[in-house]
Amino acid sequence: MQRTKFILGGLLILAAVVYLIVSSTKASAEYFMTVDEIIAKGDVAVGQSARLSGAVIGDTVKYDSATLELTFDVAHVSGDNNQIEAQGGLAKVLAEAVNDPTRQHISVVYIGPKPDLLRGEAQAIMTGKLGSDGIFYADELLLKCPTKYQEAVPDQAEANN
């Protein structure tokens, strides 16, 4: 009798946790997308929560400090870490993406303080929604910078090549 009660209690908790996980996942799932994917999806992607990654194009970064409106373009980079590694690492892939005029671009708008790491050839990971005007409105902006301090080989060495 007691045993049954305990098992029932356990099942109840399990059901509650499963419910919490499923409903919360549904409510807050964000689709990882690359620039190519979101453009290919077009109207279907409008209004859907997405997490977009791309390479920041330095010249396009504009910041209006009166309204805190930050705008910049990102170029397509692969979303697959293994593929990035195979192509010579993040730093190289980002630089190529930014300098390749044939890559697809998308404009991003973000309202808020300008992040410290935002600059050309940074990888931006943005959470937000695609607007019907084709601009990606980001609520959250994360940046990954393959800056100097992560390079295995010093600059002086590259100059020698």
Partner: protein
């Protein structure tokens, strides 16, 4: 020669650890005391050896030996010496050596204790610790070597450990320097604290495995490692808090916890560790949950290694994962093989781990502790799901889907609320048997006062339903806990005829774990006040100001006075500092100086907020941007974070509570017999 020396010593310590492993296992199976003693001496030798290796690395770091690639990556000439020392754990290779060094230190400490009647555990504890040590030293030696140097080979610079043919050493002029974000004092001690916590959990795991292997599966292993678990938990908790404080002070987004995968990676062993600390009490008092405790300690160990792996491998995109690296597969193999072996051992010993009694009542203390454990496991499952979901969904649907902070907040909030409610109920329950009636009788006063507090808050402070539920639970737990202190003290006062304070201090001194635990519960509630405050009531404003203009938020007025920007060539930093005057309802409170530091070597900004902290709220001002040409205009983002200070106050009290609980007892009167406890089960406050 120094890099070869450091590397050579690391290699020697690897071989010594291997020797310890082999002799320990051999000695245990052959019942040879001298072999086991030899293994113990080997284990003791690893600590000085790794210390020498580490000292070599620190020497190289401090003396600008940029020909060593690790030194080049994490230091630069402009860094002060103390930062060059702490750069030891500022990069992957160094931090793996740091891990090994800590593990060698703890293992040495544990092998030095008097073993006497626990001698049969010794070889297996040594064996488990040396397997772990071998893994981490192996990482250092074979994958992530901090002693690798740059060599000029045919005009190219390549990193190698040993001199390639016809190559000369290449020494860069200056190093890259530590990531400026990591130069904050909080960041200097946050990683070592987390690592201390991670590494000390290896010890309880090693004892658990020793118990399984030797078949001595009573609760001896738990008693032996109780302090270790508490200290491990202390360090891990402190590490988490420091990380939060660092984020609040440095990252300038007005928050302290972002449900970043790496934060979760450190949080998961904390969850199992916390569950473990609670459930071992059930085994000690009632002889129940033996399988469960084994599984918890195994999970904690696996999550510790997994956490190190997540932070270090770059599997998950996160602000913490600084680079991709080849150590991922090695970690995965190690975690899964130790996990499978451990679980296999538990299954093998399953029959000897049966409970000595049965749980009879759903409301007994042991049942409530079990519920507490299930709730902690639920949070763990939610966290694990959140971290693994992108990988899983990609595997099955090809579409990478992720979940952000809203997922965790939504899914865990009800469970945290349930845990808080349990904190209010469980201390009043009795071992063996409680009923709704006995619990109700013990609780109703506290519940009523908590309700009154909530009504007052509703009338005067907030109508937010989540906040009100939260405040009700906080008030309930605080009152119940205070009542426990009061009741215990009064009972003792009557029996011993002492004054109140003598009674209180003696009562607490005699029951360190119980009252330490209550202090921790109180501190958790203070932290909950802070978390509720910032999560529910945070408000913000922003704007571009010319000199003399001001912004209003809540009762505050922030007036922009001036801004200065200057270079400090010695430090390699450009400082831009704004001065603002703060008024509350027109009364001048003082000035704040939010600033932006720009580091030349890494071309990176660091945004340091100006923060005015009171018990009521924090005024948190970020300098966003400035226009040097247009009459020194500047843009600010301002947050008011109500009650957040209680988060930090709670953390301090938390530390005190854990230290109080873990402090060595004067007399080892802990071996209370289990039968005696059961008999007094109807008197909850005297039961512990």
């Amino acid at each position: 020669m120094l890099p070869e020396f450091g590397y050579g010593i690391a290699l020697v310590s690897f071989l010594v650890a291997l020797y310890s492993l082999i002799t320990a296992v051999y000695g245990a199976t052959r019942k040879s005391t001298s072999m086991v003693e030899s293994a113990r001496r080997g284990m003791l030798l690893t600590f000085p050896l790794i210390s020498i290796s580490a000292a070599t690395l620190i020497y190289l770091l401090v003396n600008n030996h940029f020909e060593v690639s690790f030194v080049y990556e994490v230091t630069s000439r402009s860094m002060p010496t103390y930062l060059k020392v702490t750069a030891w754990w500022g990069g992957q290779a160094g931090s793996l050596l740091f891990w090994s060094w800590l593990l060698a230190a703890f293992t040495s400490a544990v092998t030095l204790r008097k073993w006497e009647r626990d001698f049969e555990f010794l070889p297996w504890v040594i064996a488990i610790c040396s397997v772990t040590l071998l893994f981490f030293l192996g990482m250092v030696i074979f994958y992530e070597n901090p002693f690798t140097r740059f060599w000029l080979v045919n005009g190219n610079v390549e990193p190698h450990m040993f001199q390639p043919a016809l190559a000369t050493v290449f020494t860069p002029q200056d190093g890259n320097g530590l990531n400026p974000l990591l130069r904050h004092p909080g960041m200097v001690i946050h990683p070592p604290m987390l690592y201390l916590g991670f590494v000390s959990f290896v010890i309880p795991y090693a004892f658990a495995m020793a118990a399984l292997i030797t078949g001595r599966t009573d609760d001896r292993w738990i008693r032996l490692t109780r302090r270790w678990s508490l200290w491990a938990w202390l360090f891990l908790s402190f590490g988490l808090v420091l990380g939060g404080r660092w984020a609040y002070d440095v990252l300038g987004w007005g928050g302290y916890w972002g449900w970043d995968p790496v934060e979760i990676a450190a949080f998961m062993p904390w969850l199992t560790g916390t569950a473990f600390l609670h459930s071992v009490m059930i085994q000690e008092k009632r002889g129940l949950l033996k399988h469960w405790n084994m599984i918890l300690v195994i999970l904690t160990y696996a999550l510790v290694i997994f956490g190190t792996f997540l932070t270090r491998s770059g599997v998950l995109s996160s602000v913490h994962a600084f680079a991709n690296s080849p150590i991922g597969p090695a970690f995965m193999i190690f975690v899964s093989s130790t996990f499978i072996t451990s679980i296999a051992l538990v299954i093998y010993r399953w029959p000897t781990l049966h409970g000595e009694t049965e749980m009879k009542s759903m409301l007994s203390r042991e049942a409530l502790f079990l519920l507490n454990n299930l709730l902690f496991m639920s949070v763990l499952v939610i966290c694990f799901w959140g971290v693994m979901f992108p990988l899983v969904s990609e595997l099955f649907t090809g579409q990478k889907v992720t979940v952000g902070p809203p997922f965790y907040e939504r899914a865990t909030a009800p469970i945290f609320a349930a845990l808080m409610f349990l904190m209010g109920v469980a201390p009043l329950s009795a071992w063996g048997h409680s009923t709704l009636k006995t619990l109700g009788r013990a609780m109703w006063k506290s519940a009523l006062i908590a309700l009154v507090v909530t009504v007052i808050l509703f009338a005067t402070y907030t109508q937010n339903i989540i906040a009100l539920i939260g405040f009700f639970l906080i008030a309930l737990v605080l009152l119940v806990t205070a009542q426990e202190f009061w009741r215990g003290t009064r009972a003792r006062q009557r029996a011993q005829n002492e004054n109140f304070f003598t009674s209180l201090t003696r009562l607490m001194g005699r029951n360190r774990r119980r009252y330490g635990g209550y202090i921790i519960h109180i501190s958790m509630m203070l932290m909950a006040i802070g978390i509720l405050g910032i999560e529910v009531f945070q408000s913000s404003t922003q704007g571009e100001l010319a000199q003399g203009e001001s912004l209003n938020i809540a009762e505050y007025t922030v007036k922009y006075r001036e801004l200065a920007s200057w270079d400090d060539q010695g430090k390699g930093v450009n400082f831009t500092r704004a001065v603002v005057d703060v008024y509350e309802n027109g009364i001048y409170l003082g000035e704040l100086t939010p600033r932006i530091d720009f580091y030349f070597d890494s071309q990176q900004n660091m945004t340091i907020p100006g923060n005015r902290s009171t018990f009521r709220d924090d005024l948190y001002i970020i300098l966003v941007d400035w226009q040097p040409t247009t009459a020194m205009g500047a843009t600010f983002k301002i947050y008011v974070n109500p009650l957040v200070n209680w988060l930090w106050i709670g953390s301090m009290l938390f530390l005190l509570g854990v230290i109080f609980a873990a402090w060595p007892d004067r007399d080892p009167a802990e071996e209370t017999s289990r039968r005696g406890v059961t008999r007094h089960a109807s008197q909850p406050s005297a039961a512990d």
